[in-house]
Amino acid sequence: MQVNEKKPLIVAFCCNWCSYAGADLAGNNRLAYPADVKIIRVPCSCRVNPMFILRAFQRGADGVIICGCHPGDCHYTSGNYFTRRRMAMLFSMLDYLGIEKERTRVEWVSAAEGAKFAATMNDFAEKVAALGENKRLEDLRCKK
């Protein structure tokens, strides 16, 4: 992993039923992914309010990733379908405002995909690191 002076801070919203278990599996299997990925467990990926993502950036995140069950596998039947639409719209809007599109991502990770979880995080962290610090959605007050 390429590291700039400052390691990127990444917030990962993980659904309780698939992706969080996937992260667990990655840990159990001793698969390495950056320690600067901070996991926030949510009951379903569709619990992630767009405001959460913006708040994460405000408070210093350099990248935000949302992980949920694969489409069709949602514990609540259809939650991640809604996530998919919402995040598509939000990410497109952020891009429209000139915020680097590589800073946001949605990835479907099942409980069995520990390897995918680690690989996703490694890849995402690398891409975010290449962008450098989040400047466009920062809140200067939080950096004082």
Binding site: R59, G60, D139, R141, C142, K144
Partner: protein
């Protein structure tokens, strides 16, 4: 006021305006109205090449300089049960606000009476102390202007220095010690002048003022002690019925000074800041146990009663409005203090 013999009149050719600005900016930050690409003016810091706007006025009032929309007051660090308070007030820098219109100059008097009365607000006071107001007489008042209703002469604004911009020159006259000091520093760029051109311009402006659609707006019927007379007026219902409850009028107003104090947790500490608030907002007076102004009618009434009755009652009859006309131009539903005054005042003639 152009007073021969009493105050010295100086002038500077408009061609040399940039040099004048550069000279002012040498000792202090200089702010002046600048147009954006849509022709809307706002105060910007002067830099080489900045062109002063000819717009009648800025969209936002210059109250920002002394009472910014948001302002950090102090910070806290908490550790366990302990709290540490840090006073983050800093010595303000000297600054000059150039091109303030007569109405906005009056607004500073109105704000002073709120913030510089005991107990003094040191955030406001220190900025007020450091700021030099250079006013500029109006020459092309517009239909929304009604400063004359409040005894303001748009052709002779107050402030530390008054300026008049004619075809060829900028005339300058100091009104205060601060103003004298500023003009003394500009001595080399200005020359002694007589008042003829200024007086001619003033006469012209005053003639236009008399022809304005809102000329003759009557304030007689308002003022302190009129609470009972207007508070329960049935007209409030009609006036307020389409009010959206937004804060546009409040935030473009040069005299509105209600504020909120809020805390922001940065993750490393807490910043306590204050920001403009609006009595038009539904949660302005909301408490845990209820709200004493529950309807938009009550909130709407509060804003206008405050400007027309409550403020004058506490401040020697001075109204809390300067007739700048910003709310007339910007209210989404075109409801404003002039309509309120005419509707409430009009009923007395019947």
């Amino acid at each position: 006021m152009c007073l021969k013999g009493v105050k010295r009149m100086r002038k500077c050719a408009l061609a040399n305006l940039d040099k004048l600005f550069a000279a002012i900016a040498e000792n202090a930050d200089l702010y002046l109205p600048v147009n954006d690409e849509n022709g809307a003016a706002s105060y910007k810091k002067w830099e080489e090449g900045t062109e002063m706007s000819d717009a009648l006025n800025t969209v936002k009032s210059p109250k920002d300089f002394f009472f910014p929309q948001s302002e950090d007051l102090m910070t806290f660090k908490t550790e366990g049960k302990n709290i540490e308070i840090t006073d983050i007030r800093e010595e303000s820098k000297d600054f000059v606000v150039f091109g303030v219109r007569a109405c906005d100059v009056r607004s500073f008097d109105i704000l002073d009476r709120v913030f510089i009365t005991d107990p003094q607000d040191s955030y406001y006071a220190s900025k007020r102390e450091k700021g030099v107001i250079v006013s500029m007489a109006c020459t092309r008042p517009t239909e929304t202007c009604f400063c004359a209703a409040f005894g303001i002469d748009a052709a002779a604004p107050k402030g530390d220095v008054t300026t008049w911009k004619t075809e060829a020159d900028l005339y300058l006259q100091a009104n205060t010690e601060k103003g004298e000091k500023l003009l003394a520093a500009l001595e080399a760029l200005t020359e002694e002048a007589d008042c003829a051109a200024v007086e001619a311009q003033q006469a012209k402006t005053r003639a236009i003022m008399e022809k304005l659609p809102l000329a003759g707006l009557d304030t007689e019927q308002f003022g302190g002690g009129k609470t009972k007379e207007y508070f329960d007026a049935p007209e409030w219902k009609e006036l307020s019925q389409s009010c959206l409850g937004c804060g546009t009028c409040t935030f473009v107003c040069p005299t509105c000074q209600c504020y909120d104090i809020k805390d922001f947790n940065t993750g490393r500490g807490v910043i306590r800041y204050r920001c403009w608030d609006s009595c038009m907002y539904s949660e302005f007076t909301r408490m845990a146990h209820g709200n004493n102004r529950n309807s938009q009618l009550e909130r709407f009434r509060q804003r206008f009663m405050h400007k027309l009755v409550y403020y004058p009652e506490n401040n020697d009859g001075i109204f809390g409005c300067v007739g700048c006309g910003r709310c007339l131009a910007k209210c989404p539903i075109s409801m404003n203090i002039v309509k309120v005054m005419k509707t409430l005042g009009g009923k007395k003639d019947e």
